[in-house]
Point group: D2
Chain length 440, copies 4
């Protein structure tokens, strides 16, 4: 395999990379509604003769956290088509976004899986001349939808990586799987793809996230982006009973008081010797009228933990406190998990191989081993854990570049000069391991 040549061949996509990225940026779509994005990816791959699985072939509908209602799905399918998606492909998706390219060399070898997330944030993009996407006319046209976390870049990198690997298919061994994951924001989508089994034969899985610069210039690569937290996103509904607050207060079951009691007691149970933890009650809504004992209260909770065990303790405390408070006030309750991520440990041998591979990418100003990015969460960890369960390895890289503002900020933008180096790094890692394997 002529790795250097394969890597160099990425250079000719420099303009196309920017075009693809800006197209995705302009038509940003959020979790479970990435119909246009997915259709564009599928079309791109199929035009190149690449095998693509999508729809119910890559998603298990039982594990779709926060999957929207039918009307929302239909609305977004229609919008995707109006914004240029191929209607036939959209229809074949059966309501489920996400896709996986498979490039099978036909030769024996390892199965190399890569993951690229494709969804945007729920955010209005800045309309401001200071903001380059606005100035250069590729800001999002979809209200409440903005790529403020670089997934437009990730999708682009994945597509070009697939195109190039496919060109050099005859030089490859084993099999390559390129996963385009729906709904990473809110940690909604990864588990549904994992549960479908698409990684059950993978030997390696890796991904990269566009990330703020380190101290040594950009673009740079960091092999292992650590510190992700486990998290669960939980919607809680408390059902009480209404009665007249003046006349018969004792006949009601006060859903707001049950919620307040639950909230106060869950916050008092987050200390954990196993790891650092977080709890937030981010929204609350309850009651219908001032003079009525409120019969309903709804609130959104998230728990986090520096490891899955600590997070599980906090999660358990949340449900235990809701249940208890409901008993205190004679209420009932239900909950829905709207997103969930675990933590994962990355494999040292893979980390070292990634660092070696990065040396093949001339643009990188620096190659580092690991960085700690506390407090965030990424459901890619489900993929890492699954591949580890079946005997493989996983790792999550940081592709460090200049950024115009923090992630999830309406002024977020990244330096597109990282795109081709990003593609090269995926080519490098894939090729390096095919040739050299990893040292255990």
């Amino acid at each position: 395999m002529d790795i250097k040549k394969i890597i160099e061949s990425a250079d000719r996509f420099e303009n196309e990379a920017v075009e693809i990225r800006r197209d995705f940026h302009k038509y940003a779509e959020s979790a479970w509604t990435e119909f246009r994005t997915t259709a564009k990816i599928i079309e791109f791959l199929q035009e190149r003769g690449i095998q693509v699985l999508y729809g119910l072939d890559v998603v298990d509908p039982e594990y779709c956290f926060s999957y929207p209602d039918k009307d929302t799905i239909e609305y977004h399918k229609k919008r995707a088509i109006e914004q240029g998606a191929n209607p036939e492909i959209v229809e074949k998706m059966q309501g489920y976004t996400g896709a996986m390219a498979i490039i099978d060399s036909g030769k024996p070898g390892k199965t190399m899986a890569m993951r690229f997330d494709i969804d945007c944030n729920d955010l209005d993009e800045a309309k401001d001349e200071k903001h380059k996407p606005y100035r250069e006319n590729f800001a999002s046209v979809n209200a409440g939808c903005m790529h403020a976390c670089g997934h437009d870049g990730h999708a682009t990198i994945g597509m070009l990586t697939a195109a190039i690997l496919n060109e050099y298919k005859d030089q490859l061994t084993g099999k390559v799987k390129i996963v385009f994951q729906l709904g990473e924001e809110g940690v909604k989508g990864a588990l549904s793809m994992v549960k479908k089994g698409i990684l059950d034969d993978a030997d390696f899985v890796y991904a990269a996230h566009i990330s703020a610069p380190g101290t040594e210039g950009t673009p740079s690569i960091c092999a292992a982006q650590k510190g992700s937290f486990a998290t669960t996103k939980i919607d809680i509904t408390i059902n009480g009973k209404s009665s007249h607050a003046g006349g018969d207060p004792e006949k009601g079951n006060h859903a707001i008081l049950a919620a307040c009691t639950a909230i106060m007691s869950m916050y008092s149970q987050i200390q954990n010797g196993k790891g650092n933890t977080r709890l937030n009650v981010g929204t609350i809504q309850g009651g219908t009228g001032r003079n009525v004992i409120p019969e309903k209260c709804f609130f959104r909770v998230e728990t986090r933990g520096s490891n899955t065990e600590a997070e599980q303790d906090v999660y358990d405390a949340v449900l235990r406190c809701v249940d208890a408070a409901c008993r205190a006030y004679g209420c009932t309750w239900s909950h829905e998990i709207k997103g969930r991520a675990v933590t994962a440990e990355f494999d040292e041998p893979l980390i070292h191989a990634i660092m070696k591979a990065a040396e093949l990418v001339p643009e990188f100003k620096n190659i580092s081993e690991s960085i700690n990015l506390h407090g965030g969460a990424d459901d890619f960890a489900y993929m890492v854990r699954r591949v580890q369960e079946v005997g493989g390895m996983g790792c999550y890289m940081a592709l460090q570049t200049e950024e115009a503002a923090g992630h999830h900020n309406s002024y977020f933008d990244f330096d597109e000069k990282c795109l081709i180096p990003g593609v090269k790094q995926f080519l490098a890692v894939t090729g390096y391991i095919m040739e050299h394997g990893v040292e255990e």
Copy 2:
């Protein structure tokens, strides 16, 4: 004065009473938006040559609890005109509903004031053949607006009482003031009329509420409807500061936690040796996103007390607890009083005069002295207190009749056979006291 004749003269309005009431019922208007209702009353009175004050002549704008924003006012003025209100009168109201008829005999004597409330409830009326207003086609056409507390009947009784007293003006002594009060529901309007000073010369003030039957058949009259609670309706807004719940929780000021703490502590401070009390937090809304420390939380509170002093203690506790909780969480807060009522003691001599007068109304199956209707509130108490302050007396009667469902219920309806006896009772009380005074 030939009281009997005056009273009997009401009989000829039997059909008109029903017509007026059904017209008001169909075009129900809620607090501060009773433009059509007020205009119809003014027109009716002016057509009969009765002096009417309205708009800023009867309302002090500084004391208008829950007065809506400009757009809302304009919207309802427009609707009123579309639904048949005289546009000129609507314009002259200057944005303020409510009116007062004055019938001045020109002779020396007492000033007799009566109050009739005219607003509806915030409620969708039942659309059901079982429900007579729907079956007979006078159910409310205004969404979210329904006369479910009989104020359509009250307004009707007031208009006819005015018309008849005006006819017999030469037999009267002193002066009669017939107050059509806006916004009794939510106890929003009475204080603004009292503060305008329209009752500062009154010797007596009385009112009647359509009420459920007693044990002795209907219609009946009860001289003193006691047990009203003092109440305050308070909107609370807590302002915190947002931050990322995972990364920098300590940089935020959690408005929902401040609200929960405030709520739990205010509920623990309602016990009162001075009287029975009530507190309700009826609605809550806060936060923007699950993973953001919420920067705002809004909740609606009401306090009640079997006397004004006890209610004041609970009210003070509410604000004290909100202030304290905000300090605990580094938040700030503001509040708005959306409605308020005090309690009033009724005057024994007036109660006895009312009972005597009731003997002149042949329809009454029963005349009782007092009834206890706990837990409710009526801002008529402000009028009673004001008249007592200037040396007069006040009382609140219950006009007992058949009712199809409880007050504030979407199936509420009352037996229209109570309307004429209601008119007669106001005529009787007014005439009786003009002739005999009250025995102190």
Copy 3:
């Protein structure tokens, strides 16, 4: 029957009344430890040939709220004997105080029951020259024990009433039962006597409490002292699990946090449309060390209600909230009822008979029908309810006299001039009803 003579015969006990009362005052004994007091009463009655039941003949040990441990009982038996109790009688009590005299006329007739409570308060008596019992050397010699609620007077009145009725036994009809109740303070004792069945044959039961003056001079009598609250005294123990607060906080179950949560939520559930209510958490104690998750928390609660149903709701809420909070924190709990009283309605015919009878007592400056003494509680209500259940009637009088300070105050004292009129009133009521019955 020569009622007047019987009543007049009380006058000769004026000095003895003061002596007995002062003796009891000096050797004050609190709930379940009234061994000396009970023994003195029994001796007094037996010396006069009156039949007396006591010990397990008048108390059902299953219903003894707050019954002390063995050592406490033995300690107080010993003290009683040292302070002059007849050791033989003390032994025969079998650890249970309280007694009942029975005077059976042998003739047909009603069974008239009276109740006199005999226990003192848990209080140190004022040692101050201003305080007459101290000045005249009959202040309590028992630390923490003081008759600050007049039960020394009640016991005296009961003994003399028994003595006189026994003298005139041949003039009586039916049967008289004079109950000397242990442990009224803290509402501990009455239920145990009721459950023993000693009132199951009573037609009437009445009692009187020494009370503050009305407006018309003293001594006076008020037939019905209303407004007592139902109450339950509950001890709660929460059991958690300790762990190191720094190292393994999640391994502990925090009993203090469970208590705080329970307390805050129970206070938010006391509003009741059925009646006025009260809740108090009067004491709390928990934890062993600052750096240990506390494994135990104990607190004392009392609930009150203006009727038994409302009080029951609050009581239920207390236990429900404790149970719920313990679930939230993984704790367990237990509770013990330390005292309990219900409310009772008094019978109109008996009230009228009592007022009639009072006319026979020349000392009374005033005879009134009823007085409202809110917020307190008296387990005499169990006796009234029981007699009503078996078809009889009950009432609780107020014997109004001058008092040096409020009840339960260390300076409390009452004017001993009320004692003989008190005896006369019991004689009068008993005699009047024997002769005239009550008018239903």
Copy 4:
């Protein structure tokens, strides 16, 4: 300097080390009352002609957390004398324990400071044949006092280190300060010694704690024992106002409810992006009677943080919540700091020198660089910080040995075979740095 010889010379103290340790163990004394222990140390040093400072020469009385009342001090002085302390020395201490030996070589050079803590835990020692100190008759004779954290060993090591260094004074350069710190348990004493300025001239400060074994056999040495938490121990008193819970609940200010509110809200404010945190309310006590609004509530709190800044945030939240809750309930409050420790970073050059020096101690089975012992706290960090402030370096070693049970457990005991190696390590570090300095 002949380091090897100096180190070897420690071997001859093997028996004396055990004797001294067992003597201290038997007469265990807790914080601020180590009169006998201090006097024995002083005597030992003075007998060898070593200069010793003590009493107000080594403690600033303004910074004495949890300093006891006069009676307690006097009681323990008396006990110390009865148990063999030199009365003259005890008297000269002026009520303050702790001491510092100074060995001045008279030659230029660094000032080397070592710290040895000498207090015991507040604990009853196990009386059980399984427990060696009991079996061999050196268990504590002082109730509630037990050396369950090895400070008896620390004191012993410090004394022998001083004796030996003094013997070889002529081979030393610079100055040696050997600090015997009172009250490390509960982090009470270090700050008072630091504030006195005794370390203001130190170039190095080091200490060692007897610690559980690592994986490589015992005794072993670990150069840097990291992971100590900052902590504050706070006593909170809330003062409310009592009133009758049934009659006038609104007149009271409920100290227990204020405490519950404060506690619940402080627990909800411990999340911190700067570091891991802990909060514990370990004990609570409030109220006097069940039916009285409680006027006082006292509780013990401790806060911890993996760095001083995070701990400070939690500390601030505690006081802010107490203040706020007191405002909500109309209460006042006060607090007292009973102990406090910060965190410290240890200096890499010193760590390396310590490791090098350890190679000179033949007994050590293993020499490691650092260990993480989370959650604990040690006020030695104040000394490290102070020395760093004046330009020096600090480090805290772990002397790993076999232990019979966990620290602070009533069965705790350690293998006395670690004592001489402990002495040798202090000799080695002191000598090594005097000769070689540290490599920056």
